[in-house]
């Protein structure tokens, strides 16, 4: 029953086949010989796919966060600072950074989850800003506005090992997130998102569930941030600004917040739009805004919901599909 939702509408095997095909293609790209530039772009896409998906993970429990980049920042700087100042290898500092970010997310979640709905969103927004403010405050360690350089690398100069590393990381993270969402853990979170009073009445400690959900989302973000630090080798606060958090939210909404593949599709499409429109330089934001408006007005379920939407359009012969309420915020 729960597994039926794995690949809705298309049949279990078609969906799995498509995913397998895409993954194989991605593995084959470097040997085929795409340029360093595109490898770099794809690595960026992988990183932000994990970030957006982890944002969506948190939203499964009904909590929409606008400060998610703060966890990426925490993970990145923690790992970078420890590696640079204490000489530990990135292989050690990356999991360490992820773990410390998890603990941070957990501690922060305890007071934050007392809030619900837009209140929670607002406090998450200011949490993201707080992370940046603290980062700048300790600029002796972190470099503040000028950023941090000289971070030890994970693999050296060539981008190809990084490509496979991030591809593998993305696949593993997505697999775990998928597992979480479609197991009873995810069911419990979705129950909490729909009605915390009913959830409590059936014995779910809804506060604790929301804390765990938030902390896990933070874990993935911290892990990604830490890995990011040892690839880019240079860190600056602007990478983790409020705008980044908002963009993660946008990628999730455009992709479709009700679908597991939403964040993947949304991130990939919007990032690639920004990349390939580069020739238009100052006009890129217009293109981006156009895509946003297109999806907002015409695709209530986001890009990932497009196949289903088209199908029901054909079936209903032109009656507009219902808009589903997102976020199930109580």
């Amino acid at each position: 029953m729960l597994k039926k939702r794995f690949f809705a509408g298309k049949g279990k095997y078609t969906g799995a086949a498509i995913v397998a095909l895409v993954v194989i293609l991605l593995f084959l790209l470097p040997p085929i010989g795409i340029s360093r530039y595109y490898i770099h772009i794809l690595i960026g896409v992988f990183i932000y796919i994990i970030m957006t998906s982890s944002l969506r993970l948190i939203s499964l429990s009904g909590q929409i966060s606008l400060g998610h980049a703060g966890f990426m920042c925490a993970g990145a700087y923690t790992s970078a600072v420890i590696a640079k100042n204490f000489g530990l290898a990135p292989w050690l500092t990356i999991p360490l950074g992820a773990l410390l970010t998890f603990i941070l997310a957990f501690l922060v979640a305890i007071p934050f989850t007392r809030l619900r709905g837009l209140y929670f969103t607002m406090i998450s927004l200011f949490f993201g800003m707080a992370v940046l403010a603290i980062n700048e405050l300790f600029q002796d360690i972190t470099g503040g506005q000028s950023g941090m350089v000289g971070i030890p690398t994970l693999f050296g100069i060539s981008k190809i090992p990084y490509y496979y590393f991030f591809l593998a990381l993305t696949l593993v993270c997505l697999f775990v997130m998928h597992r979480l969402e479609f197991s009873r853990i995810g069911l419990t979170w979705k129950a909490v998102a729909q009605s915390h009073s009913v959830a409590s009445s059936i014995g779910i400690d809804e506060a604790r569930q929301r804390i765990m959900c938030f902390a896990l989302g933070g874990l993935f973000a911290g892990l990604t941030g830490a890995a990011y630090a040892h690839y880019y080798v240079v860190l600056s606060v602007t990478t983790f600004s409020f705008f980044t958090s908002i963009y993660l939210f946008i990628y999730m909404m455009v992709g479709g917040v009700n679908s597991f593949y939403g964040p993947i599709v949304g991130t990939a499409v919007l990032l690639l739009v920004q990349t390939f429109a580069r020739g238009l330089r100052e006009y890129v934001p217009f293109i981006f805004a156009a895509v946003l408006l297109l999806v907002l007005y015409l695709m209530p379920q986001g890009l990932a919901g497009l196949p289903a939407q088209l199908k029901s359009l054909v079936q209903r012969r032109g009656n507009p599909p219902e808009k589903e309420v997102i976020g199930r915020v109580p």
Binding site: F126, A133, I134, F249, P285, A289, L293
Partner: protein, 286 residues
């Protein structure tokens, strides 16, 4: 001593601007239940419109201000009808919409007039001496306008039918609708007022300090801070909240590390959300 006075004057003036912008944001929040993240961009565009009319079309600066307030007010009607109403108060969709708006507005400005900062000349040039401190008349003007606006808005809400309708909608949408109040019209009026307030404060800010295509981003944050601190439901609350944030922004960076000041302000907002989410003076915020 002089620093204290100068800072205080700056504080009050900054507060006046913050209050004007926050009022617009609070109006939209209380009447439509949405967070218009594009409010900062509107503030910025209003300022640029005045600048363009005054500096490039050569119109008298005061007239330019009035004209741009009218134009932006009209934009408000468009926004309410086509950008906010279709999403029926779903705050998260509106956030996506706001981002699209911000991108369009900011890029439009950058593309047409370039990305550098510039300034508007003073509305009334010259300084006045208050005690030992010399204050620009524009600052006094801003203060005066701020106070006048607050009085005007309070009168609007208390004395006019439209104001009472807005009050009713903000307290109970369904109840107001059942009483025959036209919610859409009320929302449109609120948006128009918000846009006018934003334009006015943006223009004043450009003559006091400067204007640039990205000045809205920071002002948006400040407006959100004021709204969270005060809560919605009373103009007086916004007044006090605006004064607190304005003073903190003007005075703290002078007496301590500006980065620490920033962190403290954010910390206070987080605390307010944790301890008293509806703000110091407000009813339910969301």
């Amino acid at each position: 001593m002089e620093i204290a006075l100068v800072s205080s004057v700056n504080g009050i003036v900054l507060s006046a601007i913050y209050i004007m912008v926050a009022l617009g944001l609070a109006l939209l929040l209380s009447i439509m239940g949405i967070f218009n993240f594009a409010h900062g961009a509107i503030y910025m565009v209003g300022a640029f419109l005045t600048y363009g009319l005054a500096m490039q079309a050569g119109i008298n600066q005061w007239a330019a201000l009035v004209i741009s307030m009218i134009i932006m007010g009209a934009l408000g009607i468009f926004l309410e009808r086509f950008c906010f109403r279709p999403f029926g108060g779903k705050a998260f969709e509106v956030i996506v919409m706001s981002v699209a708006l911000i991108l369009i507005l900011e890029t439009a400005v950058v593309v047409t007039v370039g990305g550098s900062n510039r300034a508007l000349p003073a509305f009334i040039p010259g300084n006045i001496k208050i005690g030992v401190v010399s204050v620009s008349i524009d600052r006094i003007l801003t203060l005066g306008i701020g106070i006048a606006l607050l009085i005007l808005l309070t009168l609007l809400v208390q004395k006019t039918r439209i104001g009472q309708q807005m009050l009713a909608v903000s307290q109970d949408r369904e109840g107001a609708a059942l009483q025959g109040i036209n919610i859409n019209r009320t929302a449109a009026i609120a948006t128009v007022i918000a846009c006018i307030l934003a334009t006015l404060s943006g223009t004043l800010m450009s003559s006091l300090y400067f204007l640039g295509p990205f000045m809205g981003d920071n002002m948006l944050m400040k407006a959100i801070e004021v709204v969270i601190l005060s809560g919605i439901g009373s103009f007086g609350g916004i007044l006090v909240g605006g004064l607190i944030i304005g003073f903190m922004d003007a005075v703290l960076p002078v007496v301590m590390n500006p980065l620490a000041a920033q962190a403290i302000t954010i910390g206070i907002i987080i605390l307010i959300l944790l301890i008293r989410p509806r703000g110091l003076f407000g009813y339910e915020l969301f």
